[in-house]
């Protein structure tokens, strides 16, 4: 569904990604792993063009196609792209507004005013993010009154409220405790049924637990991309093997 072809990426003069070619399949979880600074987050942020915000960041070669459309083409409306390709960030970042307002933020942007539609969206999205039962009695409490794990699931609810096709997750559990992490991982399993998910993670066990395919990056290069089981059991590249067995990284 997402085809990345021969992608080179620069931050100003320094090259962050070298010749990445990768296909991401629909309704699967694809994990990007690798040591810090290997370019996995950079690649993730290319997929919904969040890198546009950074001065001097540019794609110097290659292209990213989503459903066959080059997303860096001139006539692509980046707002439309981001509605289709949602993102959950490393640090949970709910707005300091009510839980309800957080979830409907994207819909309100699209000009949805109908109260019943908004109410429905809030319930479906919060159920989808496995948060409904915990917050249904205090939808108008501040989003910041929730615990860290709940905040992150609220961010996921906010993302699925606008019904994207792809959800990008940038180390969504790095600030969470193991129990909250387990909940988010369980949620990823459910979300997979409806969305294409790309997750960047530092935690190899997490990649092993919840992804279908794993891509290992090192120094801006894609070292190996294969079904997760293969990457962890029978890696073909010695660098991959060294990383997943914990010898470096």
């Amino acid at each position: 569904m997402i085809e990345i072809g021969n992608l080179d990426f620069h931050y100003g003069p320094s090259q962050a990604l070298h010749d990445i070619t990768l296909n991401i399949a629909e309704r699967e979880v694809t994990a990007f792993i690798g040591p810090s600074g290997c370019g996995k987050s950079t690649l993730l942020r290319c997929l919904n063009r969040m890198n546009d915000l950074i001065d001097g960041a540019r794609i110097s070669r290659g292209a990213i196609r989503i459903r066959g459309v080059d997303i860096h083409q001139r006539d692509v409306e980046v707002m439309e792209l981001r509605k289709r390709v949602g993102m959950v960030f490393q640090k949970s970042n709910p707005f300091p507004k009510s839980i309800y307002e957080n979830v409907v933020y994207g819909l309100r942007l699209q000009g949805v005013r109908d109260k019943t539609r908004l109410d429905e969206a809030v319930e479906t999205s919060l159920r989808g993010a496995a948060l409904w039962d915990e917050v249904k009695d205090r939808l108008h409490a501040s989003g910041l009154s929730l615990s860290g794990g709940q905040q992150q699931r609220l961010c996921i609810a906010r993302t699925i409220a606008i019904e994207p096709e792809v959800i990008l997750m940038d180390e969504p559990c790095s600030a969470l405790d193991p129990i909250a992490t387990a909940k988010v991982e369980e949620l990823i399993h459910q979300l997979k049924l409806r969305y294409t998910i790309v997750i960047v993670t530092h935690n190899m066990q997490q990649a092993a637990r919840c992804s279908d395919r794993t891509a290992f990056f090192y120094l801006g290069k894609l070292i190996e991309f294969a079904p997760t089981r293969e990457i962890f059991m029978t890696p073909s590249n010695p660098q991959t093997e060294a990383y997943v067995s914990g010898r470096f990284g």
Partner: protein, 356 residues
């Protein structure tokens, strides 16, 4: 361990400790001296000013002082009694005396009075003028300041040009206010032909506080976590939608804080308005006898700081003018405090609503 005071952490007198104590006292006394100076200035104004503003009998407030225009004070002796009267009262009194004398068939008595300018009546037009100047110029300064802060912080590509713009804005804050006054007179009063008017004063004062407002607004925008912007953009918002819904509301408390400082400056500055907006004396209130609604903006007003300046340096000094000086200064402090309190309350409300 039989002797509890022989533990290894026991304090020993040393040079370092003495020095430490000395530094502490120097710092402490500096703070106290500043407090003392401030207390003395405020105490003096409050003490002497309150005797003009407040009364011992009902209604406890000197309503004449707060609700009427300045008048000349006439001091004279009549039938062996020393009397003080405002202009209108004095004329009525003289007329009455003359009629009394006429009825008795005597020539009108000559009343010899000494007059003191602006020492009777009140300062109502000045209060009105200052409030109008503050509200108008702060609205202009906030609109322009927040807009340019948004541009500088959110839209502009951070490069050398923007650094120069920022530096220029900062330097603007160091320009003496009299220069702003002369600039305002040149541009607004003469070139744009607005005359000495509210509008000219508004823009001159707004330009003067603009650097403070811009710098502080930019700081408050920077304080809004980058995560809010990213989250909003990732949900398909345009840049402007992001700023309006996910940045500006959370920056407002900080922007209001800066405007509180601005209010005190705008209300207190004399130099920028003396050429652009302030009249020494004006009989009509700004909303009286307007031919067209637009005339409201093109008229001068009286203002508290300028009135203080006039009564303390432009007229002969005596015991009667002192009352007006202190009274005006006191009322001025009260008004600035009132406006500042309003914005502090507003800020507290916003903070409660948007806390992160």
């Amino acid at each position: 361990m039989s002797h509890a005071n022989h533990h290894p952490f026991r304090a020993k007198p040393s040079l370092g400790r003495t020095f430490e104590a000395g530094v502490f006292w120097v710092l402490r006394s500096t703070a106290y001296i500043i407090l003392l100076c401030g207390g003395f200035v405020f105490g003096d104004i409050v003490l002497k000013g309150s005797s003009t503003v407040f009364r011992t009998e009902f209604p406890f407030v000197n309503t004449t002082f707060l609700t009427e225009a300045p008048e000349s004070l006439y001091v004279f002796e009549h039938d062996g009694v020393k009397r003080e009267m405002g202009d209108r009262e004095f004329r009525a009194f003289r007329g009455a005396e003359a009629r009394k004398a006429e009825a008795a068939g005597k020539p009108a008595p000559e009343i010899k009075a000494t007059s003191y300018v602006y020492s009777a009546g009140g300062i109502y037009p000045c209060i009105v003028g200052t409030v109008l100047l503050v509200v108008g110029s702060m609205s202009i300064a906030l609109a322009l300041g927040v807009a340019s802060a948004i541009f500088l912080n959110e839209y502009a590509r951070q490069g050398r040009f923007i650094r120069v713009v920022r530096l220029t804005i900062l330097n603007l804050a160091g320009v003496p206010s009299i220069v702003f006054g002369l600039f305002g007179m040149g541009l607004f009063v003469i070139f744009l032909d607005w005359n000495v008017s509210l509008l000219a004063g508004w823009f001159t004062l707004a330009l003067m506080v603009l650097p403070v407002v811009i710098t502080a607004s930019e700081e408050s925008l920077k304080a809004v976590p980058q995560g809010f912007r990213e989250a909003s953009l990732a949900l398909g918002a345009t840049k402007w939608q992001t700023i309006r819904k996910a940045v500006l509301p959370f920056a407002l408390p900080g922007i209001l804080t800066s405007s509180i400082l601005g209010i005190a400056r705008v209300a207190g500055e004399t130099a920028p308005i003396m050429f652009t907006a302030a009249f020494v004396v004006r009989d009509k209130l700004p909303w009286q006898d307007l031919e067209r609604a637009s005339d409201f903006f093109f008229q001068g007003v009286m203002a508290l700081p300028y009135h203080i300046y006039v009564v303390s340096s432009k007229i002969p000094q005596n015991e009667y003018t002192e009352r007006v000086q202190y009274g005006t200064a006191f009322v001025f402090l009260l008004i600035v405090a009132a406006i500042a309190t309003t914005s502090i309350v507003l800020r507290a409300r916003l903070r409660r609503r948007y806390r992160w």
